[in-house]
């Protein structure tokens, strides 16, 4: 469904991705974990075509996307949904207009249909009744959920989540995890979930990939990750800080 082959990308003179290989099958949920600043967001941006890699290829449904021009990308981008780490709601538009935006772009004109679809999407992320609010009036977690609703409103074939549960209270975080599972099961939506949250990773992941020094360092099912004796992976999963020299 989606495949990355040998992706290399430098940011600000430093090579962040050094040959990332990743495969996501149909309806598969892959969790990508890794230390802060290791390039997870950059990887998602490369998949979305927002950044051009220096080397390597992105394949989507058998079609090579790398090398396409900005405008040739657009039809594919509509099949790939992305939740940005910082939500990235359009702050000059109300929540309703934000959610209606992708639908309008895909040609939906009927105001009634838009109202109904937006209300449905907001209900899924438990934000019912916030249609007329402006993004600036929402809390960080609410913004994130509104952005999630906007990303899934067109039912993309694959969703890229950049830290969907960061900054949410445990109850909402749990409901987001359930939502990711639900979307996968109901609509056969594949997903890549970038997270630091191991609870979330174990819950939603069919497979967990550990991104380290620009490469996928370890890959396995949640059980394999838990049993993994590699010190780097073990420290991350259990939240130890030994590797970085701040041990007490």
């Amino acid at each position: 469904m989606l495949e990355l082959k040998g992706i290399r990308k430098s940011m600000g003179g430093q090579e962040v991705l050094r040959g990332v290989n990743l495969r996501v099958g149909p309806a598969e949920r892959v969790v990508v974990i890794g230390r802060s600043g290791c390039g997870k967001s950059v990887m998602l941006r490369v998949i979305m075509g927002l950044l051009q890699p220096e080397a390597g290829e992105v394949f989507f449904e058998g079609k090579k996307l790398t090398g396409l021009s900005e405008e040739e990308w657009n039809p594919y981008r509509r099949k790939i949904g992305m939740l940005f780490q910082g939500a990235a709601l359009f702050d000059s538009l109300s929540v309703f207009e934000n959610l209606a935006f992708p639908l309008r772009e895909q040609g939906e004109k009927s105001e009634g249909v838009l109202r109904q679809k937006v209300a449905e999407a907001l209900k899924i992320v438990s934000l019912s009744g916030t249609e007329e609010k402006m993004p600036a009036e929402l809390s960080g977690g609410m913004k994130k959920r509104a952005a999630l609703a906007r990303a899934i409103i067109c039912r993309p074939d694959i969703m890229l989540y950049d830290e969907p549960t960061t900054g949410l209270d445990p109850i909402v975080a749990d409901s987001i995890n359930r939502l990711i599972l639900h979307l996968g099961k109901m609509f056969g939506m594949a997903s890549i979930v970038v997270t630091h949250d191991m609870v979330s990773a174990r819950m939603v992941g069919d497979r967990i990939s550990y991104l380290h020094e620009g490469k996928i360092y370890f890959e396995g099912t949640p059980e394999q990750v838990d049993r993994c004796e590699d010190p780097l992976v073990r420290d991350f999963v259990r939240g130890h800080a030994e590797g970085i020299g701040i041990t007490g």
């Binding site: 979305m48 075509g49 405008e71 657009n74 981008r77 910082g86 709601l89 359009f90 702050d91």
Partner: protein, 265 residues
């Protein structure tokens, strides 16, 4: 010797830098024109921008026009009355307003007001990933963000300049006739007689081209904003300064060119 070399290399660097930026601005302009033809125009967005630019800038533009006309009429009166040339005040004011003062001052104010707003808005969208979110939703940013702003300014600027001209010439009349006691009928007759429709055409052409310059530079700056909030402030200031300077320099060449084209025989 060393310092001369340093100076030369500095000037060289500034020059190549300016050329590169100018190239990028032209590319953006080309892309904007292409997107304008290729995609359906978003009239709601264009009207929204025109409201902001056109309606909300009126007070600024009218005030500029009025006081420029008034002060210019006063200065001309001080000088011309010494030679008994009061009859020439009217046309002098109206021709100066049309050819230079109206379009240049009006568009300098638009660069400050509208250019700054464009650069600030686009750059804050850029740093908060909203431009990327737009791309991720399959929308081409040039088409959605730049085309409406460009069209709105290019349509509004000549209209606003026209308004500034009318108020400027009107206020010039008021100052000369009502305050300094120049003969009103005579003043007006001469103004009409010596002001050519070509003078108005010059005003409109100039303001049109200045609007293209302002929107292209402001949008280019905004879309290339460096990350961070400091970037937004810097981008906005640079957009206004660059647009204003470019406008003044282009004005000189435009004056020569239009003179050659319109008055060639």
């Amino acid at each position: 010797m060393g310092s001369v070399l340093k100076l030369v290399s500095h000037v060289g660097a500034v020059f190549t830098d300016s050329c590169r930026t100018a190239g990028a601005v032209f590319m953006l302009l080309g892309d904007t024109l292409r997107s304008m033809v290729q995609y359906r125009l978003r009239w709601d967005q264009i009207f929204e921008q025109m409201y902001f630019i056109g309606i909300r800038s009126q007070v600024v533009v009218l005030t500029t026009g009025a006081f420029t006309g008034a002060v210019f009429a006063a200065q001309v009166w001080f000088q011309f009355k010494r030679f008994g040339m009061e009859s020439a005040i009217g046309p002098t004011v109206s021709i100066a307003m049309c050819r230079e003062l109206g379009p240049v001052l009006c568009c300098l104010l638009l660069a400050g007001r509208v250019g700054a707003a464009m650069a600030a808005e686009l750059s804050s969208m850029k740093i908060t990933e909203q431009v990327d979110a737009l791309r991720a939703l399959g929308v081409y940013p040039t088409e959605y963000l730049i085309v409406p702003r460009f069209l709105a300014l290019v349509i509004s600027a000549p209209i606003l300049t026209g308004l500034a001209l009318v108020t400027g010439i009107g206020c010039g009349y008021f100052v000369a006739v009502k305050i300094f006691g120049v003969d009103g009928a005579y003043y007006w007759d001469n103004t009409i007689k010596f002001t050519d429709s070509k003078d108005v055409v010059i005003a409109l052409i100039k303001s049109f081209i200045f609007a293209v310059i302002i929107s292209a530079i402001a949008c280019h700056k905004g879309m290339n904003c460096p990350p961070g909030t400091a970037g937004v402030g810097k981008t906005t200031t640079e957009a206004v300064v660059n647009a204003s300077l470019t406008l003044l320099i282009v004005n000189f060449f435009l004056t020569i060119l239009l003179n050659a084209l319109l008055y060639s025989n």
